[in-house]
């Protein structure tokens, strides 16, 4: 059974809707796996709040907990859910209206140019 990609995308977007969670995910993306303490040192967020957000992110599958040095848990970003969210955004970002308007112009233009051989060549695009 394929995972429910809508649910995955929804978890990514709700995670990203919170500025503290965005900061945590950005820090893990930029600097690699880190412990809650590392993140508290780097971010203007209390350690308690970071622990709470990390638990939520781990539950949503956006980070995974793994054993780190001195038996402290490190958190690693999971890229797969982010790729699902990118897919959602790709559909929204796909622009067919622009190219199709250009196709219409192209067809209309070439007729016009043909029909007006000795007139101007119609450089509308420039």
């Amino acid at each position: 059974m394929p995972p429910d990609i809508e649910a995955v995308a929804e978890q990514v977007f709700s995670a990203l809707a919170d500025p503290s969670r965005r900061a945590i995910l950005a820090a893990l993306a930029a600097g690699g796996p880190a412990t809650a303490t590392d993140l508290a040192d780097r971010l203007p967020i209390t350690r308690q709040a970071i622990a709470k957000h990390l638990a939520l992110l781990a539950e949503a599958g956006l980070v995974t907990a793994e054993p780190g040095e001195r038996r402290r848990v490190r958190y690693r970003l999971r890229s797969a859910p982010m790729q699902v969210a990118q897919q959602f955004l790709a559909a929204l970002a796909r622009d067919w209206d622009g190219p199709l308007a250009a196709l219409q112009d192209h067809l209309d233009n070439s007729v016009r140019t043909k029909g007006e051989h000795h007139a101007d060549t119609g450089d509308r695009d420039s």
Binding site: P2, E6, A80, Q87, A91, P99, A102, L103, L107, D108
Partner: protein, 143 residues
Amino acid sequence: MGFPDRIERTMELAHPPTKVWAAITTAEGLGTWFGNKATIDLRPGGAARMSWTGGHTAEMRVERVEEPTAFGFTWRVDGLPDDDPRRTYVEFTLEPVGAGTRLTVVETGFAQLPEDIYRKSFDGNTQGWRSELGELVDYLDAA
């Protein structure tokens, strides 16, 4: 939420299907209205490529050629990593309407996600980095 899998547009063009067909299936046509430059090997399985002056390129694989009624190709999903195997399918269909053409574009596959690809892309990415960095550490330790 509604994950959009399918994008569809229909437009009426005041030009016969043969003319529209040429605009969407030739290097000259595609390189004029769609890309800034294009190449195309117009047969199922053939490669096509468009490039833009900004440096962006799109590689397509021609899938369906039924002159002058249907033209289909697949291409990668913009925004996903280069090695991502997912592709969307784009199909243009042309219907004569009077002296003109009704052109429909359908792009599908945005919501595809077979589990094996999901697993592979997740495990592949994290383990790829983990093992590459691990190999670097081994290499440095040995030196």
